[in-house]
């Protein structure tokens, strides 16, 4: 992948992000932040790449593994916590019916 096309990817990704969050009700600010935060743990892919390409280099394997741990802590925790928050909103209407 050439650098220029990666820059295009960066640009289009940013525009997409700007466009996606249009009008958010204040109620959802915290869950949205927490959900977006979980997505930022996508660096786990970079950590995985590092481990796969380490080729037996133990210090690098350890760094990759720790990095993967941190990223997954972010991802798994982030999604669970967001779900817990959102579960409280969705419970309401069904209770009333």
């Amino acid at each position: 992948m050439s650098f220029i096309s990666l820059l295009w990817v960066l640009l289009l990704g940013s525009l997409l992000g700007l466009e996606l969050i249009g009008k958010v009700p204040p109620t959802l600010h915290t869950p949205l932040m927490s959900g977006a935060n979980a997505i930022s743990g996508i660096t786990m892919l970079a950590a995985l790449t590092l481990i796969v390409k380490a080729e037996g280099n133990v210090p690098l394997l350890i760094i990759g593994s720790v990095s993967l741990g941190f990223a997954l802590f972010n991802v798994v925790g982030g999604f669970f916590v967001t779900d817990r928050m959102l579960a409280m909103f969705s419970r309401k209407p069904s209770n009333k019916k």
């Binding site: 997409l16 935060n37 892919l45 941190f70």
Partner: protein
């Protein structure tokens, strides 16, 4: 193009699409929960795609598998446990902690690649390519470190483990931070020049910069900072994407970075603060000590729970204004019991939610939803403000700055211009509060001096419990 490449390409494309749909769905109440799951699914899909790609091309060594499994199990386990155990009131600091760890992850990846260049980046290293490689490593380390230390400081401050040191409120802090910033810039250029040892300097100074920038910021502004740091962790992820040549990482990182920035902007608007003043203005209380010298209350009316109950019984319309004090006292369930009684007596009850009630926008909604308050009873500020003149009783529970009329009347007040709830328009206002201490901003609240305001002193939960008892005695809600 061989098969693994095609498969990875398709999976990446699908993952990006699902992530975008996930973020989009998260901004609507109805679709939010499914959207969150969709995003989680997209993330796992991307992992499967990556692993399948390597299995199909270079293969994955047993040793790598072992380290992958160790890292994943430990990280996921801790994440899941914390997410299940943490009380809803500590949500903002939890998000900060998760966020910091995401930044740490990007930092470590860049560090690993910098110290031990991985195979594909040493091949055909022409000048341009190695330059890009070093720039993206530096950016990833710089942003990752700031995200990590900044988030940890934010968490510690929200938890009350760290207070705001005095020196951070003086002009010295700007000087200190400029020194850190310049030092990281020097390390940055040194690193690009090929001096690998300066990487440690970069790690250290950017970590210090993260601390130095976050430490002076007051608690009220913390949500904005967390949101901004969240945006940073996206940028760090995108930078790590350049390091390991992953388009998916770049797209997802950029998406989170941009979305986080917008969210930060929205939050700033709700608090009537500009991002610049949040970041460089220090905490509000420090600025206000000079301007609010007339901090003496002259006309405080204190009243008993019994009087409060009597007034409530006679009311037709009651508006509840919950604030962080309610959350701290864990009184949302008790509050719900009180309002249930009132409703059974035919009294109309509405909750007025200020955009920044609690510690984070939407935080109060989450807490009240936890206590089974119907979603329709939660009214946003703009909707509820015209209703106050027609309201008999307003109960202010642990809220302070968001009901301060100074924000409208006193142009010299640091709060001036912040959108507030016009509770003083109601017939009677009860403020349930532990003592006369000031709110987050450290500013005197003119509301407490008004003739139609009565203070009920005590812990929110205890007062509400007493209130239930009094209402019972009056026969409210027994029908």
């Amino acid at each position: 193009m061989n098969l693994p490449v095609i498969i990875k390409f398709v999976i990446d494309l699908l993952a990006v699409l699902l992530l975008a749909l996930g973020i989009k769905g998260l901004s609507k109440v109805k679709s939010a929960r499914d959207a969150n799951r969709l995003a989680a699914f997209a993330m796992s899909l991307s992992v499967v795609g990556l692993l399948a790609y390597y299995l199909g091309t270079s293969g994955i060594a047993i040793q790598s598998w072992i380290w992958i499994i160790i890292g994943s199990i430990i990280g996921s386990l801790f994440g899941a446990i914390l997410a299940k155990k943490v009380p809803m009131t500590s949500m903002p600091e939890t998000v900060a902690l998760f966020n910091g760890c995401g930044g740490m992850s990007s930092l470590l990846v860049a560090l690993g690649v910098a110290i031990f260049p991985i195979s594909n980046s040493v091949e055909n290293l022409d000048f341009f390519k190695s330059l890009i490689n070093e720039v993206s490593i530096s950016v990833s380390i710089f942003v990752g470190a700031i995200t990590f230390t900044g988030s940890i400081v934010a968490m510690a401050k929200l938890q009350g483990w760290l207070s705001t040191p005095g020196w951070t409120q003086s002009k010295v802090r700007h000087f200190v931070n400029i020194v850190f910033a310049v030092a990281s810039l020097i390390a940055f250029f040194d690193l690009i020049n090929g001096n690998t040892s300066s990487i440690w300097l970069l790690v250290i100074v950017s970590s210090l910069l993260g601390i130095g920038v976050t430490l002076p910021i007051g608690g009220a502004d913390m949500p904005v900072v967390i949101s901004l740091l969240n945006s940073y962790s996206g940028i760090a992820a995108a930078a790590a994407g350049f390091v390991v040549d992953s388009q998916l990482l770049i797209v997802a990182g950029a998406m989170v970075g941009a979305a986080g920035l917008i969210l930060t902007q929205v939050m700033c608007k709700g608090m009537n603060r500009s991002l610049v003043s949040v970041l460089f203005g220090g905490s509000l209380s420090a600025q206000s000590t000079a301007s609010s010298g007339s901090g003496e209350y002259t006309n405080i009316t204190s009243c008993s729970v019994e009087e409060c109950a009597l007034t409530l019984e006679a009311a037709n319309k009651v508006i509840i204004v919950p604030g962080y004090g309610l959350a701290v006292a864990q009184a949302q369930h008790t509050l719900r019991e009180v309002t249930k009684k009132l409703e059974q007596n035919g009294i109309e009850v509405v909750y007025a939610i200020h955009p920044v009630a609690g510690r984070m926008p939407g935080h109060m909604n989450v807490l009240l939803a936890e206590a089974d308050v119907p979603y329709e009873q939660l009214k946003e500020m703009d909707v509820v403000n015209p209703d106050f003149p027609a309201t008999d009783v307003v109960l202010v529970l642990g809220a302070n700055d968001v009901v301060n009329p100074q924000a409208k009347n006193d142009s010299s007040s640091p709060l001036y211009g912040m959108p507030v709830l016009d509770v003083q328009e109601a017939r009677t206002v009860f403020v349930i509060k532990r003592g006369m201490s000031a709110g987050y901003s450290g500013i005197k609240n003119d509301l407490f001096d008004l003739p139609n305001t009565s203070m009920v002193f005590g812990d929110a939960k205890k007062v509400l419990n007493d209130l239930i008892g009094e209402l019972k005695d009056l026969g409210v809600g027994e029908k």
